[in-house]
């Protein structure tokens, strides 16, 4: 399932923080990318559809007491968490390789 597309990666990363509804995922992606990536609703639900079909994301009932009960909530499945972990490890190895060749900062800015 690797490498993941940027949209898939952002959605999986957002859901790694817990179950969310569509708009919360959009806001979270915007926040985690410092307003660099702005997913549209069509792209978001197309991505969620693909992720659900491949078993990486599943729909949940959502937390109780939510203001709008008609919202649909999504969460990472075990396979989704494994795929995300594998992708992060792949990217990490790639970044380390790039740094070994003198590209990019030697240490993480974080």
């Amino acid at each position: 399932m690797v490498p993941l597309t940027p949209a898939v990666m952002h959605v999986l990363l957002s859901l790694a923080g817990g179950e969310r509804h569509g708009y919360a995922i959009l806001k979270d992606v915007l926040h985690q990318t410092n307003h660099q990536v702005r997913l549209g609703p069509g792209t978001l639900y197309g991505t969620l559809q693909r992720l659900m079909e491949s078993g990486l994301v599943e729909e949940t009932d959502g937390p109780g007491g939510e203001a709008d009960e008609r919202r649909r909530f999504y969460r990472l499945s075990r396979a989704g968490r494994d795929a995300l972990k594998a992708e992060v490890e792949r990217l990490d190895a790639l970044v380390r390789h790039a740094r070994g060749r003198g590209i990019g900062p030697r240490t993480s800015r974080a």
């Binding site: 708009y23 959009l26 792209t43 197309g46 969620l48 559809q49 008609r70």
Partner: protein
């Protein structure tokens, strides 16, 4: 309580009708809800100019979504095959026909038999195409039932 649908939301709703039916049934309500919320936020945060930028983004997003979703259904491939396959088959048969020393039978009985064979071949092709198309387009239903 939700506010009455804006013109933008109505346009988005209309654009969603261009999506494949399975995707529309599954996600149109959610897409509209997210669209509405994002629109309100764009209007509150950036006013009129922000709203125009938001509209441009949404048009691009919906256009890409519609194209992607139709590609996912396999319809464009099927339509291309439906056009290319008969044309290729007909031209291949025509070129083969020219090389063969075959003449149409003169006797009426032979001619009738040939017509019957052609008719049977056409009927078989239609039956095969119907089975293939039915299996192809019921995939989403089968998937949903499995879930």
């Amino acid at each position: 309580m939700r506010s009455p649908a804006s013109v933008d939301a109505r346009c988005c709703h209309a654009a969603l009708f261009l999506c494949p039916p399975a995707f529309r049934r599954e996600f149109s309500e959610e897409i509209l809800r997210v669209f509405d919320e994002a629109r309100q936020e764009a209007q509150l945060s950036a006013g009129g100019s922000g709203l125009w930028l938001f509209r441009a983004r949404m048009i691009a997003d919906l256009a890409i979504t519609i194209a992607r979703q139709w590609l996912r259904t396999g319809w464009p491939v099927m339509a291309s095959l439906a056009i290319v396959y008969p044309l290729t088959a007909a031209s291949a048969l025509a070129s083969l026909w020219r090389r063969l020393p075959f003449r149409m039978p003169r006797a009426t009985a032979d001619s009738d038999l040939l017509m019957l064979e052609l008719l049977a071949a056409v009927v078989l092709l239609i039956v095969a195409a119907t089975i293939i198309l039915t299996l192809w387009f019921t995939r989403p239903l089968l998937y949903r039932r499995r879930r």
